[in-house]
Subunit: 375 residues, 3 copies
Amino acid sequence: MLSKDKIFLALLIFIPISIAAHFLHWGEIVIFITSALAILPLAAWMGTATEEIAVVVGPSLGGLLNATFGNATELIIGLVALKAGLINVVKASLTGSIIGNLLLVMGLSMLLGGLRYKEQEFQPIVARVNASSMNLAVIAMLLPTMVNYTSEGISQSTMQTLSSAVAIVLIVVYALTLLFSMRTHTYLYDAGVADIDPGELEALAESNLVGEESGGKVNLPLWIGILLACTLMVAVESELLVDSLEVATKSLGLTALFTGVIIVPIVGNAAEHATAVTVAMKNKMDLSVSVAVGSSLQIALFVAPVLVLAGFVLGQPMDLDFNPFELVAVAVAVLITNSISSDGRSNWLEGTLLLAAYVVLGLAFYFHPVIEGIG
Amino acid sequence: MLSKDKIFLALLIFIPISIAAHFLHWGEIVIFITSALAILPLAAWMGTATEEIAVVVGPSLGGLLNATFGNATELIIGLVALKAGLINVVKASLTGSIIGNLLLVMGLSMLLGGLRYKEQEFQPIVARVNASSMNLAVIAMLLPTMVNYTSEGISQSTMQTLSSAVAIVLIVVYALTLLFSMRTHTYLYDAGVADIDPGELEALAESNLVGEESGGKVNLPLWIGILLACTLMVAVESELLVDSLEVATKSLGLTALFTGVIIVPIVGNAAEHATAVTVAMKNKMDLSVSVAVGSSLQIALFVAPVLVLAGFVLGQPMDLDFNPFELVAVAVAVLITNSISSDGRSNWLEGTLLLAAYVVLGLAFYFHPVIEGIG
Amino acid sequence: MLSKDKIFLALLIFIPISIAAHFLHWGEIVIFITSALAILPLAAWMGTATEEIAVVVGPSLGGLLNATFGNATELIIGLVALKAGLINVVKASLTGSIIGNLLLVMGLSMLLGGLRYKEQEFQPIVARVNASSMNLAVIAMLLPTMVNYTSEGISQSTMQTLSSAVAIVLIVVYALTLLFSMRTHTYLYDAGVADIDPGELEALAESNLVGEESGGKVNLPLWIGILLACTLMVAVESELLVDSLEVATKSLGLTALFTGVIIVPIVGNAAEHATAVTVAMKNKMDLSVSVAVGSSLQIALFVAPVLVLAGFVLGQPMDLDFNPFELVAVAVAVLITNSISSDGRSNWLEGTLLLAAYVVLGLAFYFHPVIEGIG
């Protein structure tokens, strides 16, 4: 575990490098890569800081904090890209975050966990509730696109009104999901966590920390400071990332669609990836699946609707009218994940199937022709 | 329960009002609304009369009677609209009945039942058989449309031949489903009903009655008379409803698609709605789910095929070539319902998810541009 | 069982008849029908020979042999049609083999088994692993087509590169599936086979033989000779079948699409059909489902990718860009099969539902307009 922290510490060096690259005009590719690398440790620390503060403020407010800031990195990158008018990159990275969490993160967790343990178990009930919420999210993303696709087209303003209305429904559903898991039906979720030795859980949480912290007392002002500082730095680095994205990816021979769907989400979700895989290898599959599916749900039910509403406020034409291929990708990702997770068991082959689906999707996105407006 | 009957009794006043509105030319909107309100108590009484007669004629013939007349209101409205040439309204109301039963009725049942009981259970085996039949029905509705969509188009007469052939397959499947549930595998269905105290079931059936009836003896001629009278009146009111539909909905700013998918099915299914929600709140989830899913199945496997064959006889170009968006709507409704009902348990969040899906679908239909020929 | 062997022996007469029909110019329809009939016994004997050799060479190599030669008939017909440039017939027969195995074979097995036994059981765990693999296969077939469909089209060479890359992923997944079932997680599969009395299994295997064989000793050179001779004869008959296909089906009023999807797969899979139905009627549903789903998986994860790579080598434009309607057909077949097999139980109604889906698909393919290039 120490090594992960050391890697994150070492990656901090890319913050000054990326800023220098920007001011000294070292080229867009250098800026793009260094700012992406700089975001990784910042995202990890934001996660840690959120969890630490959550512990102090108590379960209810803490749960809410986790639920709101859990995907803060994606949200910040999304807002910066939205402000820059890169609507299609924003949509692509939403698609990619969902796909990446479901297929890449869960697939790696099941594969690496499954290489060590013949069969791993997790709560099928929670998996089912999540599957149904995820189905609703897919439906909500699908319908505005299909309205456009199955008619002779609707105006941009109608599409934005429809998308905003759907976004509000999704945010309400998200709030109710939190109410369900944190208030009325906590016992469903507890069962899974109960298996986990509380000491280990704490050790796990702390393993994400850099610090010298040792006592039971959390230094609240310190962590709030770290959270604010990291948020600020993520915003700065996101600016660099987004500004350099178009030129850099073109020089690398990648379409903006591929970058948005595959590369940006890997940067934004690196912290979740690390956590989910680590706990899977400790046979805590419940937690691993929760992180992966929970993160997807948060993207679909919270980050995406917030970005739609933000687009409305910022005057950007952000809506839920996706490229049909992105919808196909999200739909198949949800389909195969539901099929694999529904029985509450996993093994290395199931992990491999998820990864294979991710590879096939990646190939398809790689060869998908440039789409006007994002390439 | 008394109040429900009183409401239905009070609604009878709309029968003369709607007829007066028609002859005194009070305007299409008044006719539309009053005839819709007049259908509600008539549909409820048709249901009660069917059940009463079913009790007398014995389980086999009675079951068949229930299975045939259970959705008589939808069938009558459909036939009247078909005769008037409003093919697209007929198709839209078939779509809407399936969606409404699965999402609105089952969603409300699970939500209101779930607010009172933490977790409710029902027979997962029956849910699975129903899910598979429903999948077949969706497939049968999907394929003719897709034949048209994935080729350069086929002629109207070929489409009608294909649709009629598919309709016959569906009716055969429907008959076999009845044979399965009433003859060869009754024990699967009994298990669920066994939980229900027979006294209560009877009380429940009687709660739908207006009457002074008290003894164990059913007045067969009376109920046959009521059934015939109600059927006749539903036909009359359906004429008024269908005739005023186009002008009325246009003045209300609604497309005929939205009216067909959302409003007409609520009128046609009000009785099922009331029953399913009532029994869910009494924790009889088995019965509630049966009513909702059974009604959808009846629409898809019996009412829709009968209307296709009726179109053939009436010389109307009725077929199974739906608007692709309607198919998407039915497919997602079946998908999320299967996902939620497959484990044989429900809670308030699952009800909310179904309702949210219904709201999102309603928004999408509301904003779907007018389609030529029905607007 | 004896009668099946006698039928197969009798069918051998069509080998000389079909060859005579070819040289004596008896007409394309005669050649088409006689060569189709001649393939049936050859395919059955290839299967028997493969199993016999598999027994001798031991479980690992034998399993591999079975997995590779299990669908040799389809592979040979596919290669011959590919060499003749009938790309769309090849694709259609792949689609049809998957659909036929899932719906027709499994449907008939469940129906005929279900008429004899009220409820039949099989391993739900194996069904789930297979369902997930099948989902991946559908996704892999779907994506290249969708890339083409959701963009302004991609060049043939890009499509072939993408398809080849996907094909390699599928073959790797297939190899890993074998590793999983034959090495790391054999116990999952054993449980099902354990129910089967080993004596009966052997009797079953032998029932496929014609011969006088009686002792425990397998005559390896004989069976290798039979395998080679049958393979050669299947190749010859496939040539006759493929050469006469276009003219014959046109004279019979069938489109090449219908022939490829419905007729060719029935010829290629007749042996599996016979086996799956026979064992289902002996209440060995585990084996029956394994044969049907296993054969579909082999087509999707092995035969189809091999044909794509063979097309690359032969310079034929074979890729994974299917007719959208074929994809719809495969997707709905997998959907309803998963829905029906997920609970590990079957009854006659579930068999009927699968058959009804097959009939509806058959009707849709029958009426699907001729597609340029294969009609």
